[in-house]
Symmetry: C2
Subunit: 614 residues, 2 copies
């Protein structure tokens, strides 16, 4: 393959696009790989399309090697299957919905569990037909509230989604393990670092899921790891619950004047100044903070929620949203407070909240819905609001003075507090460290949710009808390309791994000497004839400086410079990234250039891939 | 490549799907290539996807060979560019429209002229950047009123669309010719017969267009040809206008009683019975039929239209719609007639229509809009309605008694009458014959419509800003696959050309003898190892009858049967279509089977392609 810069449809830009926050977005636009068509919606230019197709090819090969069969579903789908599973509603505003000329409701699919389930129901009926894994590489749609970071969070994007169908749980376990291994091979081949973390299933449903994260500072996902091997998306981390504390010796709760203490900091300061404890200072961890939020259901209903948690922790909105999905979380408004005069801002205590306020004849709490951090176990003692401006209550004991977290089986806890470095791993494997990453894959053991909802059964060995159990396995193909760009760039531009680069070699002819162009042409065509993918900068009136800047921006892994050295019979061969493919720039006799480039390309293609981080 | 029937995701069906009218639809569903997801929206199963990808590959290769560069646009697009060109409105109900969560209007693109224009405007600015041809192979959307015939007229479909950009008309001519030649190569390679016909441009706009039609009885498009080489889509045929006739000798028009003559047939019968002419019988061609229709604009406005044409011709609604695009044509309703009491059904004459009824102060016609067949030239004499039930007027002379077609430059003609076999070709090349075909490609010399609307200019050689001139070139990739199925099937099933078949060879093991399965397995793996695509029916408990029926239905071009003959050391090799690849079934020694199959596959792949019909 030979692409010539003189005719290639590309324009490199010296300026960063105004809306680009991250390197992959900035560089993919500047290098002419992608172009924005609408918020979160991109056009693929020739070089970008080449990289995307190479990523797709790796994914496809590994899916096929894992025994998955490729199909292709429409993106435009009827409402009914999604209504049957509840997702038509649950997706809320994230779903692109439309009506056809006859008034039928349609959607642009964000993921295809329903359709795969119905297809298998349509064609298969016996345990003998299973196990089965199908996949597609397809354009998907999601009406993101905040599309951002170019290809990382778009509204139209390319996904590989696979679905497994098994007759029993052991089968699902095997299919899940098989896809998990295929994912490891995909990211390994793509040269992309990854971490596999426990995750929440969200709107997808299912019993168990894991995310593949590419660790990077610009990632949207926070995950945790312990030295002992625990790894989880921060949404999936469960709090280590301390043991209950006996409260027999606790003094009775007492209300104190704490003027001007609407914040935890001001409260701690006043507490230490006016009500100093003998053993140590009061800290924020001694206070019970009650945070007022609003849940908005997919159909738009609004409900207030108060989260009670130790005052030294913030509410992590992503953790809370994962816990209350499919509802979304918003901050409480003036109007919300106006409707609830019992909520005295800055001085809210548990007494006015949830069932602490009493219950109606049906046992329903009279107060605003109230959920507690799991740490608020029976016997813990708190300073918290007295529901009067300027006053707090001290020695308020959970389980004695208000319903404690999980007390008597109460379902009043929520995993909404931020996870902090140093928190204990839930499996006892040591303190957690925090890191950020891009979600590049997500695998779900769905179980029978979709098969139940849509009636996918088969006859088992004994002729008995059984509900099929399913898995669902996604890779964000266009997002993976962005992650590769993030992981492979420097200040000057992109620096693709050879496996996905739009070309293997970038041949640059410098100067005006026709002999230089003739030699460069010869090297380029020789290489292309041997199956090497060549990008040849044959532009006659462009300065060497511009050509080199373009070459660094475009990021082809190997550069061949034909210029002044030709007078001495040599060309320069150098890797885009110093240290790759040998030690750096080499002066190679012109007649050996094609051979030497071939060796280096082979070395790059055989070079080290990505790896799983412990 | 080796696919095993025992695990391949396919189920053949013995029954035709209820909604299938044509063979390609019926067989592609029955053979498990596609599956309906919604009206006009299909899922691609593994075998169908393989064929689609092969068709795509041929199209892509020929596009690249013609110098076109591949890009990929989103399907979900903002309204604004389509508003700038008027197509947001003109597409009317054919466009899928939706709103995002922020209320922005979006569409699912039926074709991408606007976006390609804007992209080139975005990146290019000089004549030196041109000529340029870009293409994509992409999923497109069209909310068809009547999706039908499976892949032939769908609402979600795969298109190759290419766009050329040139600085001047000569450039456009060359780009157009270049794409035209590429289309000929594509259909040639795919083994698909085609005719190139003059066409109308419709909503696309532009000065000139040609359609590539695959001739077939089930085609939706009617086209005409003359022995002298004229060929056109029936919508593009222009009527040969007879010369005006002197009317000096014509008697004055006279109204006669013609009771119970609301139809042309009844009118002709009564005319001959009561008002016999001496020279010959009256025929339908002597009557002027006025057909009442309604035009519905893309924005839903309804306007009545009366078409006046010789009574021996029907209105061809497709020709009329092409003439009045982007309006759609509907039949007139009771309500329409109720609003126009001057229209006496069955007895409408020109006097109450259009400007014949008089004009208002601004010169606008007082009657319902009235368009005439071009044959109604000055001096032609007609029997037509007298606007009174049971009465007709005789010897009504066009140009004397009502405004004739084109009289004094009047723009009152329409190409709406049916074209009939034997009608003269407009270029004088002889009588026309009619045939039907599937539109598989359409090429447009767009000119400057889109570049003007969206401001795509470049600086020319002299530094002057000039508007770019464009072409647009489409191939219905999924529809081409259906056309291939139509052209390559028999009662038993599909019979793919080797170039696009999902596999080259179908190996069938019959009976229960393990030696048979071992030999079949060996042949299958040997062939697959050599790069032949093999479908191996390795199902252990399926009867030979079922296996052969499936093989005929699936349509792989070469069949290898391993069965009883193995005792004598031979297997049977036979083509799916009698007469192809040799003379028929051959008994081949088992140890020579792979070699012989390889020879036959090579012969099939090298075999004759499609051709252009004169």
């Amino acid at each position: 393959m030979l692409l010539r810069m003189s005719s290639l449809f590309v324009r490199t830009l010296r300026e960063d696009p105004a809306d680009a926050e991250v390197a992959s977005h900035r560089l993919l636009v500047r290098a002419g790989y992608i172009r924005r068509a609408a918020p979160g919606i991109y056009t693929w230019l020739p070089l970008g399309l080449r990289v995307l197709r190479k990523v797709e090819a790796v994914v496809r090969e590994e899916m096929e090697a894992a025994g998955a069969q490729e199909v292709h579903f429409p993106a435009l789908l009827p409402k009914e299957p999604y209504e049957a599973t509840g997702r038509w509603t649950e997706y809320g505003p994230n779903l692109f919905r439309l009506r056809d000329r006859k008034g039928a409701d349609l959607l642009l699919a964000p993921t295809h569990e329903e359709l795969f389930t119905l297809l298998v129901k349509d064609l298969y009926s016996s345990y003998k037909d299973l196990p089965l894994t199908l996949f597609q590489i397809q354009t998907k749609y999601r009406d993101e509230a905040r599309p951002r970071a170019g290809l990382i969070r778009g509204r139209e994007f390319v996904m590989k989604d696979a679905y497994s169908f098994d007759v029993d749980d052991e089968g699902l376990d095997a299919s899940y393990a098989n896809q998990r291994a295929a994912y490891q091979r995909v990211f390994q081949r793509l040269g992309l670092e990854y971490v596999v973390v426990a995750a929440t299933s969200g709107a997808m449903g299912g019993s168990r899921s894991e995310e593949f994260l590419n660790p990077t500072q610009i990632g949207e996902d926070t995950f945790v790891r312990s030295a002992g091997g625990y790894a989880a998306n921060v949404e999936a981390v469960t709090t280590v619950v301390p043991p209950a504390v006996p409260w027999d010796d606790a003094p009775a709760a007492h209300v104190e004047d704490t003027p001007d203490t609407p914040t935890i900091d001001s409260l701690v300061a006043v507490a230490n100044a006016r009500f100093a404890r003998p053993d140590r200072e009061w800290t924020a961890a001694d206070t019970l903070k009650n945070v007022v939020l609003a849940l908005v259901s997919p159909t738009g209903e609004r409900e207030l929620l108060v989260v009670g948690l130790p005052g030294d922790r913030e509410v992590d909105l992503k953790r809370l949203e994962a816990a209350v999905a499919p509802a979304e979380v918003e901050t409480a408004t003036e109007a919300d407070f106006a409707r609830h005069p019992e909520l005295v801002r800055g001085y809210i205590g548990p007494g006015v909240l949830g069932a602490n306020r009493g219950v109606d004849a049906d046992g329903a709490p009279l107060g605003v819905r109230y959920l507690l951090d799991p740490r608020v176990v029976p016997g813990t003692r708190w300073i918290t609001g007295a529901d009067v401006p300027g006053r707090h209550v001290f020695d308020l004991v959970a389980g004695r003075d208000f319903i404690a977290a999980g007390q008597d089986g109460a379902e009043n806890t929520v995993e909404a507090a931020e996870v902090r470095a140093g928190d204990p791993a839930p499996d006892g494997s040591g303190p957690l460290e925090l890191a950020r990453g891009i979600e590049i894959g997500h695998i779900f053991a769905l179980g029978r949710k979709y098969a139940d909802a849509l009636g996918l059964t088969v006859l088992d060995r004994n002729g008995k009808s059984v509900v099929v159990t399913m898995g669902s396995y996604g890779i964000g193909v266009s997002r993976v390309m962005a992650a590769l760009a993030e992981a492979n760039h420097d200040d000057a531009g992109l620096a693709w791994p050879a496996q996905v680069a739009p070309a293997h070699v970038h041949v640059v002819a410098t100067g005006k000497d026709p002999a230089v162009f003739a030699a460069a042409e010869s090297i380029a065509t020789t290489l292309a004839g041997r199956g090497t993918a060549v990008l040849y900068d044959d532009r006659p009136k462009v300065s060497p400086g511009v050509k080199f800047a373009d070459a660094e921006l475009l990021g082809v892994p190997l550069l061949v410079v034909v210029g002044r050295g030709l007078a001495d019979g040599v060309v320069e061969v150098r890797p885009r990234r110093a240290g790759q493919a040998g030690t750096g720039a080499e002066q190679v006799p012109v007649e050996r250039a094609a051979d030497r480039v071939g060796e280096l390309v082979d070395a790059l293609l055989a070079g080290s891939g990505g790896s799983e981080q412990a």
